[in-house]
Amino acid sequence: MANILIVGVGGQGTLLASRVLGNYAVLTGQDCKLSEVHGMSQRGGSVVTHVRVGNNILSPIVAVGDADIIIAFEKLEALRWRHYLKKDGMMVVNEQEIMPMPVITGAMEYPNDIKQKLQEVCKNTLFINAAELAHECGNVKVANVIMLGALAKNLGFKYEDIIEAVKMTVPARFLDINLMAIEKGFNAK
């Protein structure tokens, strides 16, 4: 059983990531439940997608304190959702910073000690510069798939299975770039 939380900012493509994971469950013959965010928060708000893969899954949402892994598409969001993590859980965090409105208006500051704070609660935190890797792929939009590759690696998914799941999810004309992104994420250190 894997309890996965995908967190980020509305518009970053968390939905695609969760749908690939759904197809991964189909492929590997496991039960799966996903809980997505549609509606208001998609307009640049804080978003969370819950994914649970395993046997006979009941709740579609991961219980607070029960996530095996949190994959954060944005740094501050990693901090915001970290209480969902299990004691010995793991975090994969994109280095990207997206300023929330209170920071833009100057009412608050973007925390500058996020890395430190995350490492305090979770020794097993992996930082990835997904924007840079996406840039190398030739499209900043595939940062989400890069993060997905890193997630798959850290959950011990077979490379072929996750590739197959991407093929099931992504339209053919975007396949090449997405496969490149998965590979980069899978091999990211």
Binding site: R43, V64, H83
Partner: protein, 576 residues
Amino acid sequence: MKKILLGNEAIARGAYEAGVKVSTAYPGTPSTEITEAIAKYNEIYAEWSPNEKVALEVAIGASVAGARSIVCMKHVGVNVAADPLFTLAYTGVNGGLVLVVADDPGMHSSQNEQDSRYYAIANSIPMLEPSDSGEAKEFTKLAFEMSEKYDTPVMLRSTTRVSHSQSFVELEERNEVGVKPYIKDITKYAMMPAMAVGRHKVVEERIKKLAVDANSMSINKITYKSTKIGIICSGVVAKYAEEALPDASILKFGMVNPLPMEMIKEFAGKVEKLYVIEELEPIFETQIKAQGIECIGKEIFSIQGEFSVALIKNKMLGEPIPVADTTLPVRPPVMCPGCPHRSVFYVLKKLKLMVTADIGCYTLGAGQPLNAVDTVVCMGASIGMCHGVDKALGREQSKKTVAVIGDSTFVHSGITGVVDAVYNQGSSTIIILDNSTTGMTGHQPNPATGRTIRDQVTHQLDLEKVVRACGVNSVQTVDAYDMVAVEKAIKEELEKDEVSVIIARKPCVLLTKEIKTPYYIDNNKCKKCGMCMKIGCPAIMMTKDKVFSIKADQCVGCGVCLQMCKFDAIKLGGKN
């Protein structure tokens, strides 16, 4: 074949397999994807109606004509459709009719947290509630069978976590049920007092029969484990309860109105301690306690918000819930970079106007730094409320007040407000923000866009002509990005002693997907005045030591910030 489907897609699949012929809806989170998924089945006629009342009436017509019909909406949509619903309960159906309502506990995307189960009780009609996608499909099909068997509309209730969660569903073939013959019968379908008296009796007998039959329906299920704790619940909460307390006995209602009282009595008699766990209102609890059965419910569980496995463990076992760090900067939803609403709201703020606003992406104009909204109540309320302010405080205040409403919301329920303001000699100034789509719910077409749900070209409702036909003589159309033009139009119309309408037009950027060259800030020219920050564009940033920049990967080149800068520091050609 097994497939992983969103709860909403599963409801659509259920409708397809049940042989539904007509599907109507007005979008609303978390219900929207049901109708979007139905529109992919060519066997079903599907439409976006202008509002929920019309949607239900179309479905009633189709049902009376003999076809199975489905109508979908969010919880507050039922308020709009309540008038036909209450009398539909009397007429009953010919072809099965199912009204799907999606509640939003915790208000992920809603203005209130009302509990639709009250509507089923108030109408004396059955309501089913699935707990995952598999049940969503099964219960939808069952709802059509029940509708025809008992000659009643059936409500199917979902919640955000059922509608927007994916789980496995077994796909089956469509059952082409065809269309039943229509037989004229005014004692059943023409509700005037003499006929309605007879039909009200039918309603009462029907709900009594349903309450008896409920005790033997397989969708109401008791699972006995340890009898120390018994839990009564429904929907997704049943999944939470089973996971939180794997040893407890559970009575799960598949039908949440009417309740299976004999089953409840049997269950209550067998367990030592009985809990009722239900999100939102104490609806089961009240009915169970009224039977003299002891149970614990809202004594420990809140009426507000969503439940979860962790919450149930906390309330019943005292397990602590890890808490979030609340000192972090919050991240509320915001208008997108390039949103055509931003410039209009900046002008409203600048002019210090009272703004009776409405529901849509533009509601985000209430947030910082624009902070240019005074009121939000329900769809369409902006126009009536503006007229109310006018009548209460007179011309002095009405010169400082505007109503702001989106195109979809205007068609939904804004037009009658304009008729009222003109008819009753008001002087409101109304701004229609026409971004040519229903943005907030994910870009559905509406009558003012001239496209159907299947993207066919159709008659485009002409908003200018509509308001003129209502009797508005002063109508202006401006480019929403052009702040000078917007300001000029607002000032002019506020001065007029009559109802006037400004149509601020510009398509939603997410819709046009036009990629324009981004802007950048020339730091040699920037005087650090901070004016560009006042429009609250997420693409513009400021460091602590006041260095301003535009994020090229977010900027869509709308040029609104350009109009804010007096020093020509914002230039075309930003690069990552």
